[in-house]
C-alpha cells in the first residue's frame, strides 16, 4: 500500500447524518456499490468518479486491512475523464478535409465528420486519471479531502451522498461559527455581525497630518498630475 502523504493541502467537511458503522458489512457494501467503474473502452466523452482502496486503483477490492487505519478510514476518489484531445481532432479533421480535395463543406457536414472522428478515435483514447486522498473520521463526523479544488470538493460531496446517503458541509468560517461552542448571546450576534474595517476616519485624518509634518516639502515640490490636453500644451 502506498504510504500516506506527509504534507499537503486539505479541506474538511462536516458530515450531516449518520455514517454506517465502519466495521459493518453495510459500510463495505455501500462503498462497493459506488466503486470506480472504468471508462477505458467508452466510445463517447465522459467522466467516471468512484471509490478505490489505496492499494487497488481499479476499485475492485476494499479490504478491511487496507482502508481501516485505527480510528480512521483511508480511501481514494478516482476521477477518470475521457475527452478527445483537441490536437488529435484537428489532425484527423485536416486529413478528412484534404481527402475531399477542396470541396466546400457545410457546417452540418463538418459536425458529422467530427462525430465520425470521435466514434473512431475515442475508443482508442485513454482517459486522464486522477486520485484524491480522502480520510473519514467517523467519531468526529468529519471528512478530510486532500485537495483544495472546488471541483474535487463537489465530487466528494456527491459521492458521500450517493454512497452513504449523508450530506456534507464544507468546514469554513460560516459553518464553524454556527457549530462553535459559544454562548447564546454570541450565537445571536453572529446573525447581525458585519465585516469590520481597520480604517478609522479620525485616525486616517491624523495620519495624513503626520505624513505632511514628516515631509513638509512634498506639497510644494509635487505638482498635481493632469491629463488635461489644454494644460499640457
Amino acid at each position: 500500500m502506498p504510504p500516506f502523504k506527509k504534507g499537503g493541502s486539505f479541506v474538511r467537511f462536516f458530515v450531516e447524518g449518520s455514517l454506517p458503522d465502519v466495521q459493518s458489512e453495510e459500510f463495505f457494501e455501500a462503498l462497493s456499490n459506488q466503486r470506480f467503474r472504468s471508462i477505458e473502452n467508452a466510445a463517447s466523452e465522459e467522466t467516471s468518479v468512484g471509490w478505490v482502496a489505496p492499494s487497488d486503483p481499479s476499485g475492485q477490492d476494499f479490504l478491511r486491512d487496507d482502508i481501516l487505519l485505527g480510528d480512521y478510514v483511508r480511501l481514494r476518489i478516482r476521477i477518470d475523464k475521457k475527452k478527445l484531445p483537441a490536437a488529435w481532432l484537428a489532425i484527423h479533421m485536416a486529413a478528412e478535409l484534404r481527402a475531399r480535395e477542396g470541396q466546400k463543406i457545410s457546417a452540418r457536414e463538418k459536425k458529422a465528420i467530427k462525430a465520425d472522428i470521435e466514434d473512431r478515435v475515442l475508443p482508442r483514447t485513454l482517459p486522464s486519471v486522477s486520485f484524491v486522498e480522502v480520510v473519514l473520521v467517523p467519531h468526529d463526523s468529519l471528512v478530510l479531502l486532500f485537495s483544495s479544488s472546488a471541483a474535487a470538493g463537489a465530487e466528494c460531496a456527491k459521492l458521500m451522498h450517493k454512497t452513504f446517503g449523508v450530506s456534507v458541509v464544507e468546514v469554513d468560517p460560516t459553518s464553524l461559527a454556527e457549530r462553535a461552542p459559544v454562548d447564546r448571546d454570541r450565537r445571536q450576534y453572529l446573525e447581525r455581525c458585519s465585516p469590520f474595517s481597520l480604517r478609522d476616519s479620525q485616525q486616517d485624518d491624523s495620519r495624513i497630518e503626520l505624513v505632511r509634518e514628516a515631509s513638509p516639502s512634498r506639497d510644494t515640490v509635487d505638482e498635481p498630475m493632469t491629463f488635461d490636453a489644454e494644460a499640457t500644451r
Binding site: D185, P195, L198
Partner: protein, 174 residues
Amino acid sequence: MTDRTEHAFLGEEFLTWLWYRSETGRATFTLRDRTEVGVSLDDFLCIGGSEDETEQTLRRGLPTRSSEATAALASGKRLVKARLILAAQHDEWTLTLDGPRFACASVRRNSAEEATDSPEARDIERIESFVRVGELLDGIYTIFLEDRLQESFSTSTLSEMRSWVAERANIGSR
C-alpha cells in the same frame, strides 16, 4: 438554506486578528482541552478583503514588517491568506491558511515523526497530524469568535487593533 459565503469575512478577520495578536505578543492560546498553542505569521501574506477586491501578495523576508503591509492595513484591507507557524506541545507545523475558505494548503509538520517499523502506525501518525492541525485551528478560531461576537468588540479589541495599525503607520512615516 444558509449562504455558505455569508460569514466568509470572519476568516479574513480571524487572520488579521492573529496578526495583531502575534505582533502584540499575545499569540499563545489555551484551548478548551487545555492545549497551549503558539501562532506566528511566516513569510507569505495575501492582503485584500476590501470592497475593491484587489489583492496584494507579499512573500519572503519579513512581509509582516513591510511598509506595503502597513499601507494595506491602514487602507482598511484584511488578511486573506497567510503562512502560519503553529506550535503545540512537542509539535510544530507550517501551513498556508485561506481565511474565507478555511482551507489549509502546503501543510508541513516540522517536528520529526516517531520512529516505527510499522507502515500502519506511520500512516496513522500522519493522518493524526492533519486532524490535529484542523483541531488546533478550530480551537483558536473559537477563541477569536468569543472575542469577536460581542457588542463590545468594536470599543475594545477593534479599537486596539486600529491603534495598532495607526502606530505602525506612524512608525512607517517617521
